[in-house]
């Protein structure tokens, strides 16, 4: 009966029982993951400027709470499909700083061996599938991942992110509609950070709020302040629990702001002056969370300092390790297109 009641409540929206408040250790962990995300990205920018990376660096500056808070709501067996600005989600799910740096350097020992860039990597054992550049596609892929959970009766959940821009793709529509009608255990997060490359949200859609799209798909819709890590965690946890209890898909809109350009090459000339500075001064998710930790949770300053030092050491170590990584050799490119044959034919004149 309890299961039936929970399922009925789930269909109505927010479950009756809120998830338990995170412990102090969990709250400190949230800070650690956000700090690690930011420090690692800052180091990637430095390496980029030293010309040591292949491809661009796509910052999640100002969006760390959205990625970390949501992924933190998952269990180890759950699967996340991250997006461009979800380095924090990948780290929470077990991706390591050295893997991330190697990916950006395109080394032979990087997760994709130099075959794909940046956060485009996956490890199903740890439960993450990085995105592909055609946006929106991962909603359908995660509909299939979570359909398999349903078919096998596994109590596992999927989480997939799209940006405000990807909501305009056909793949987003098809995937969300498919997952909705199949009642897949899937949480879809729309990260509304104001811009898709240079395109502001008002040019992307006539809809006032992305969360309103949930009505059209017949799924639960929720919205939260994406720069409040505890609010993100709480809302995502509710949606994850709903999915696990058979309540189907939740569409979450997280309100945030992209403080850097699409990638580091982008000078943001299209952004009204003062906008970025205002968000940096008033609404930085890490600054905000530090005030919560120090003033309300009463965490000692020394505890914060210890985390900062740990993060700095971990990033230093990762850079040092990655700097010794070898490059792939050209003929590595032929391997692994298919299981059989194991390698593509080498052209006779090469």
């Amino acid at each position: 009966m309890a299961g039936k009641r929970a399922a009925a409540a789930a269909r109505r929206g927010t479950p009756a029982a809120p998830p338990p408040t995170p412990t102090t250790d969990q709250k400190l962990a949230l800070y650690y993951w956000m700090r690690l995300t930011r420090s690692l990205e800052e180091r990637l920018v430095a390496l980029h400027r030293q010309n040591k990376l292949v491809g661009g660096v796509f910052r999640s500056l100002g969006q760390e709470a959205d990625a970390v808070g949501s992924a933190f709501a998952l269990e180890p067996a759950d699967v996340v499909s991250s997006l461009t600005r979800n380095l924090g989600s990948l780290l929470v799910k077990g991706a390591t700083p050295v893997e991330v740096i190697r990916q950006h350097m395109g080394t032979a020992d990087s997760p994709t061996g130099g075959r794909d860039l940046g956060l485009h990597f996956a490890d199903i054992r740890r439960g993450f599938i990085g995105h592909v550049s055609p946006l929106g596609n991962m909603v359908s892929v995660m509909a299939g991942v979570t359909l398999s959970f349903k078919m096998r009766g596994e109590r596992r959940v999927g989480l997939v992110y799209v940006g405000d821009g990807a909501t305009s793709t056909g793949a987003f529509h098809e995937g969300l509609n498919f997952a909705g009608v199949q009642r897949c255990p899937l949480v879809v997060i729309v990260e509304n950070n104001g811009y898709a490359y240079s395109t502001p949200t008002r040019v992307q859609t006539a809809a006032a709020r992305f969360v309103d799209k949930a009505i059209g798909y017949g799924v639960v819709g929720e919205r939260a302040d994406g720069n409040d890590v505890l609010a993100v965690y709480d809302l995502t946890k509710r949606a994850v629990n709903r999915a696990r209890d058979g309540g189907g898909v939740t569409l979450i809109e997280l309100m945030t702001y992209r403080r850097r350009g699409h990638a580091e090459h982008d000078n943001q000339s299209y952004v009204p002056s003062g906008e970025v500075d205002r968000w940096a001064a008033d609404n930085d998710p890490i600054d905000r969370y530090l005030r919560v930790l120090l003033d309300r949770v009463k965490v000692e300053e020394s505890a914060i300092g210890a985390i900062d030092a740990r993060v700095a050491a971990e990033v230093d170590e990762a850079v040092e390790l990655a700097s010794r990584s070898p490059s792939p050799t050209g003929a590595d490119a032929l391997r692994g297109v298919l299981a059989a044959p194991p390698a593509a034919a080498r052209l006779w004149y090469r």
């Binding site: 996956a122 959970f149 509609n177």
Partner: protein
């Protein structure tokens, strides 16, 4: 063992594979309750339940994407395109996601995308297409196109068991027009191996799908009327191509037609011709000739369709030209 149709052979393969492996499931538009637009999946839902025969929204991109996601988790999805023409809607998902996933991340997509392809049924521009050329060009996908009922079953079983994505192009003209006797036991046709459908010494016709039957007709008539001994190679797998089988036949007959129902420019015949040119130039006694559809959309009028698509007479005309060269 009684004969069954090409369509029944496909269904038999689905039944047997779903019985054999609980990870195999079907998804697509109208495949469950209705049993599919051509009734290929008829009876599957009654036997295996709605959980393994999934009726989906009209969303080819999501059908393929969801199949890929399920395949990542160890399932063996068989996705149906109601008509293979609509696979164009899933082109992005197949080429950008499915075909690159293993190569980029090591995450495999063992899945089948199947659907009725081909013309000669007056289906018009959106129910008659042959989409193979778009996908042959994409590394990371396999493509098969059975011509016989035996291979319809054997290739589908091989496709379901393959570790990668296989596009299975079943020919709707053949569904109920041809029959075959299924070999006993676990009948699997290996992917990547062509079949010599008819042996001959004077000229080779390399083709696949419904064109195999036209090639066999042409071969019989050329034998009777011209005394030509024509060999017919049924490719069965279009990617990866069976170069060995192609080259062996070329080196034996020295005169070659490459035929397909697909349009001419950028079609598979051009690729096969190039391979023969690169590897068998010294064995050729005549230029390799292509027999294909005209480069136009496939019109629905029977008169127009018959003109557009290659016919037995076209094969005979081309064969005679190659033979007297």
């Amino acid at each position: 063992m009684a004969e069954i149709t090409y369509l029944e052979a496909i269904r038999e393969a689905l039944f047997e594979e779903m019985e054999r492996d609980p990870n195999v499931f079907c998804l697509g538009e109208d495949v469950g309750v209705f049993g599919g637009a051509f009734k290929v999946t008829d009876g599957l839902r009654e036997r295996f339940g709605a959980g393994r025969v999934v009726d989906t929204p009209i969303s080819e991109s999501a059908i393929v994407g969801a199949a890929a996601g399920a395949a990542h988790m160890g399932m063996r999805p068989v996705a149906e395109m109601q008509f293979i023409d609509f696979i164009a809607n899933a082109y992005d998902m197949l080429t950008n996601y499915v075909a690159t996933s293993r190569y980029r991340t090591g995450l495999a997509c063992p899945m089948v995308v199947r659907g009725p392809s081909g013309g000669y049924v007056h289906g018009g521009p959106f129910h008659s297409q042959n989409p193979e050329a778009a996908f042959l060009h994409t590394p990371g996908l396999k493509v098969v196109a059975p011509a016989t009922a035996e291979d319809a079953k054997g290739l589908l079983k091989a496709a379901i068991r393959d570790e990668d994505c296989v596009l299975y192009l079943e020919h709707k003209f053949l569904y109920r027009r041809i029959k075959g006797t299924m070999p006993a036991g676990d009948h699997v046709t290996p992917i990547g191996r062509a079949r010599v459908a008819r042996t001959g010494e004077d000229l080779t016709i390399i083709t696949y799908g419904a064109m195999v039957w036209k090639a066999l007709d042409a071969a019989d008539q050329l034998g009777q009327e011209d005394g030509l001994a024509v060999e017919v190679i049924d490719l069965r797998t279009l990617a990866p191509l069976d170069d060995d089988a192609i080259f062996a036949s070329v080196k034996k007959t020295n005169r070659v037609l490459v035929a397909h129902e697909d349009t001419r420019t950028g079609g598979l015949a051009g690729e096969i011709t190039s391979r023969i040119n690169e590897s068998c130039f010294e064995w050729l006694d005549a230029p390799v000739l292509r027999v294909t559809a005209h480069d136009v959309p496939l019109a629905s009028s029977p008169v127009l369709e018959e003109f557009i698509l290659p016919q037995t007479a076209d094969l005979m005309a081309a064969a005679r030209r190659a033979a007297r060269y």
